[in-house]
């Protein structure tokens, strides 16, 4: 399988924050979910991939080439960055006709219709959710092969969010298409992502297939006595609560047999984030 995005030893520093070094391969034909708390470096990673900010070190290839030469093939939704708010979707259509060689006005209008958005309504008068829909329609209307989306579903109600997620699933039906999606709404990723990339404090701390996470990982809830019996190699991280411990275990099947007294729940991405960020990590994940 070819890589849609290939990142090697990427490093980007700001005063008080460093992203990297990060090496990451995003294969073609899948949806990759990028998670991490606020300020973890998700947007910096996306902006560095897109050359919006300059990297300090490392190599980035998008569809095997330098990103500048494949921008026609990339659809973008950036968090808090779009057209000036006194423009309307009709203006945007007219502008992007002269920006993208593949711009499809008919498709753009179809998306606007399906989202119930008027062509002449200026962005300023739209709700946050409506504006997001225009951004998504814009990202999809030049037949891109790669979608890079930073918080594309924030501000959308659950019904529209589902519609949008379905759009992304339709997009990915073509095996040449790829999506890199950063979001705080981790439940969205549980439904659609094939691979999860987790960034914390600028470091890549997890990069696994979704099924591997949900089939193998679990949260073991136990008291201090049982916690002390847990072997270090079985746990990835743990968090001490007031009355019990939450332990992130790396093999639910093995641990259920091994620690019969403890309850082991299925994991959600939210649990995973909480325990990895707020808890203490062990070295078992590196085995």
């Amino acid at each position: 399988m070819k890589d849609a995005i290939e990142i090697k030893n990427l490093r980007k520093s700001y005063p008080g924050f460093t992203l990297g070094e990060i090496s990451l391969n995003i294969p073609q034909g899948i949806i990759v979910g990028l998670i991490g708390e606020n300020g973890a470096g998700k947007t910096t990673l996306i902006k560095t991939i897109l050359n919006v900010v300059n990297k300090d070190n490392g190599n980035i290839c998008v569809m095997g080439k330098d990103v500048e030469s494949v921008k026609e093939e990339i659809g973008i939704v950036l968090d808090n960055s779009f057209f000036p708010e006194i423009l309307n979707p009709g203006n945007i259509d007219s502008i992007l006709k002269d920006v993208y060689g593949n711009w499809d006005s008919e498709l753009f209008n179809r998306y606007l219709d399906s989202f119930s958005i008027k062509r002449d309504q200026i962005l300023k008068t739209m709700s946050k959710g409506m504006r997001k829909k225009v951004e998504i329609a814009t990202a999809l209307s030049h037949h891109p092969k790669l979608l890079i989306l930073d918080e594309p579903t924030s501000g959308l109600d659950p019904i529209v969010r589902n519609e949008v997620l379905d759009l992304f699933l339709d997009f990915i039906q073509d095996e040449e298409h790829t999506i890199l999606l950063s979001t705080h709404i981790t439940s969205d990723l549980e439904h659609i992502a094939d691979q999860i990339v987790f960034i914390d404090k600028g470091k890549l701390i997890l990069n696994k297939e979704r099924n591997e996470i949900f089939d193998n990982y679990g949260i073991m809830r136990c008291g201090e006595e049982d916690f002390n019996k847990v072997e270090k190699r079985d746990m990835l991280a743990f968090k001490r609560n007031r009355y019990e411990y939450d332990v992130l275990v790396n093999d639910v099947t093995v641990c259920r047999k091994k620690y019969e007294n403890c309850i082991i729940d299925k994991i959600t991405l939210e649990d995973l984030m909480l325990i990895m960020v707020k808890g203490e990590k062990t070295n078992a994940g590196n085995d």
Partner: protein
């Protein structure tokens, strides 16, 4: 580049109410008063155009613009081409209005208006050539401060040089400037705009957005 030009024109078009109000005001003052205020229209349009930078900054357009194909390059090119075309077109529009008002009032001299407008357009383009690299580097807010400093600075220098050299300029130089001054000014303006464009382009291509 055409897309970026369209973006700025749509921004101006969606703000056109302000233009109409000022235009009516200028026309009224010019017809009823003793001065021809329509000659300020190019400057007013320049000010309106400069607000496009403000919209771009305020809506964090730059990050999005940079990920469009040749986004950074076309953004800089688009701004320069739009402002030059706008200056020239507004100059002719202003001249036409000046001619019409002159006809209504049975006064005015088209050649006088033309030379005043040529001077205004030249001064505007010189101002832009200094101002744009500052805006591309520091953003519109700081650029606006620079606009006032540059405007007053240039006026001060011109007045100072005029007063200082008044009695010392050789007659041959005055004759030369009378004959070729307009071409020299045009050449200097074009050269300054080109250098300004190269500087702005370099700044924006390497800028963190």
């Amino acid at each position: 580049m055409l897309g970026m030009i369209k973006k700025d024109l749509y921004l101006m078009l969606n703000n056109r109410r302000l233009f109409y109000i000022v235009l009516v005001l200028y026309l009224g003052m010019s017809i009823l008063g003793g001065q021809d205020y329509t000659l300020f229209i190019p400057f007013m349009l320049l000010m309106m155009f400069l607000t496009s930078f403000s919209y771009d900054d305020f809506n964090s357009w730059h990050g999005y613009g940079a990920v469009l194909p040749q986004g950074r390059e076309n953004y800089v090119k688009g701004k320069y081409v739009t402002v030059i075309v706008l200056s020239v077109v507004s100059c002719f529009f202003s001249l036409l209005l000046s001619f019409l008002i002159g006809s209504i009032k049975h006064e005015g001299n088209l050649m006088d208006s033309l030379s005043i407008l040529a001077g205004i357009t030249g001064a505007m383009l010189l101002l832009i050539s200094i101002l744009f690299p500052i805006i591309f580097k520091f953003g519109y807010e700081k650029g606006r401060i620079a606009l006032f400093i540059v405007s007053f600075g240039i006026s001060g220098i011109v007045i100072f040089l005029g007063t200082f050299f008044q009695t010392r300029i050789p007659e041959s130089l005055i004759l030369f400037l009378e004959k070729y001054g307009i071409y020299l000014a045009a050449l200097i303006t074009i050269a300054m705009l080109y250098v300004s464009y190269r500087i702005s382009r370099k700044i924006y291509l390497n800028k963190e957005l």
